[in-house]
Point group: C2
Chain length 237, copies 2
Amino acid sequence: MALKGGIKTENRIQNPNISVDCVLFGFDGENLKVLLIRQKSIGNENGAKLALPGDLVFDNEDLDKAAVRVLEELTSLDNISMYQFHTFGNVNRVKEVKDQEWLRTFRAKPEARVITVGYYSLVNLNEYQPKPASFADKTIWHDAFDVPHLAFDHNEIFKKAFQTLKAEFNTKSRGFELLPEKFTLTQLQTLYEMILNKKLDKRNFRKKFKKEGKLIALDEKQAGVLHKPAQLYKYSK
Amino acid sequence: MALKGGIKTENRIQNPNISVDCVLFGFDGENLKVLLIRQKSIGNENGAKLALPGDLVFDNEDLDKAAVRVLEELTSLDNISMYQFHTFGNVNRVKEVKDQEWLRTFRAKPEARVITVGYYSLVNLNEYQPKPASFADKTIWHDAFDVPHLAFDHNEIFKKAFQTLKAEFNTKSRGFELLPEKFTLTQLQTLYEMILNKKLDKRNFRKKFKKEGKLIALDEKQAGVLHKPAQLYKYSK
């Protein structure tokens, strides 16, 4: 892949050996989802798979910027901060026959060894409407607890991202990004139960949070609900 | 860099875009050190710098294996398990003039964009005697709290490794790898104070550890000490 003359072209030269993959979690208030794309068909239905949004980085592009750019190019979601979590470099990670078939259509050097840097983030799903673009044929918010077979080593990448989410959920307070600005303790507990995939004791859960001082009780209650309106909180710091 | 015929040669083909860098911490019972190499001189003293042990990965080599191999090639320390912690991919990370001078001697494609995958580990320094090899002229166990200017972006890599060490020290119980198999609570506290770089209260420290159940009290005491011999412990699980 020789360098071409114009600056514009030069800016878009892909490094054949380095990609990023994005694991975007979305919470809709009740369920935890992950954003997948369906690859564009290459005239052979077997060749197109579900996958994480991912692509090669440009040779003059920082990794963190590449993650944001690739997510936008494939799903039209822009300006989502992504956190790097792990790099995947097994020698045969893109060598499966069907993956190779697909790569021959979309990559200049389909046989090249590619290592991929994994990024994740989590958003309030109701605030984002993905639209497929580039080599994505479709975007899907898929149940994060029942992810189907994905292209390349994307199941492994997803699994590691989910482990990281669970680990960083508390230590880095990532979870609060999924809630509306003002939320009830029931919403907060539902979120924790979803991510950790287990029921939590209401009393202990509330005691723990009040003790940690991460919550600020507001002078406001829920509006427009049929049941007794609950106290609203916001996240401190 | 075309593939050559023989398998042996093929095995050793470096990927020009992907490297690993190793941050090896060593604890000698009192001080925390980090293993540095001095690069071989290229006939111009300014060109040789202190650096972390690091090199390009082979095109058919998994990343985790590359980290272990590169550490051994440069420092003769073998079989040290390394933990991946972060990947560094700023566009200009190897573009400083002096770094470029050095790379022109040691790399086939010195101008290539290189991203590097950082690995770290920690060992009981007394059990390991590094010896320089390959393009390392010297190996140095350097005070981890006073690291000098290093080649490339190695100061940034070191800093991130140290942050990770502190964060994973407790959550992943990495610290116990630095202690002898049987240790005293004073040795354990010294280790914690070194890594966290602060004095800890003896009573609270001991209470916390006993509560966590990570320690097993042995039927043994220290031998060959002038003071009253202390109870020995080992790490549980």
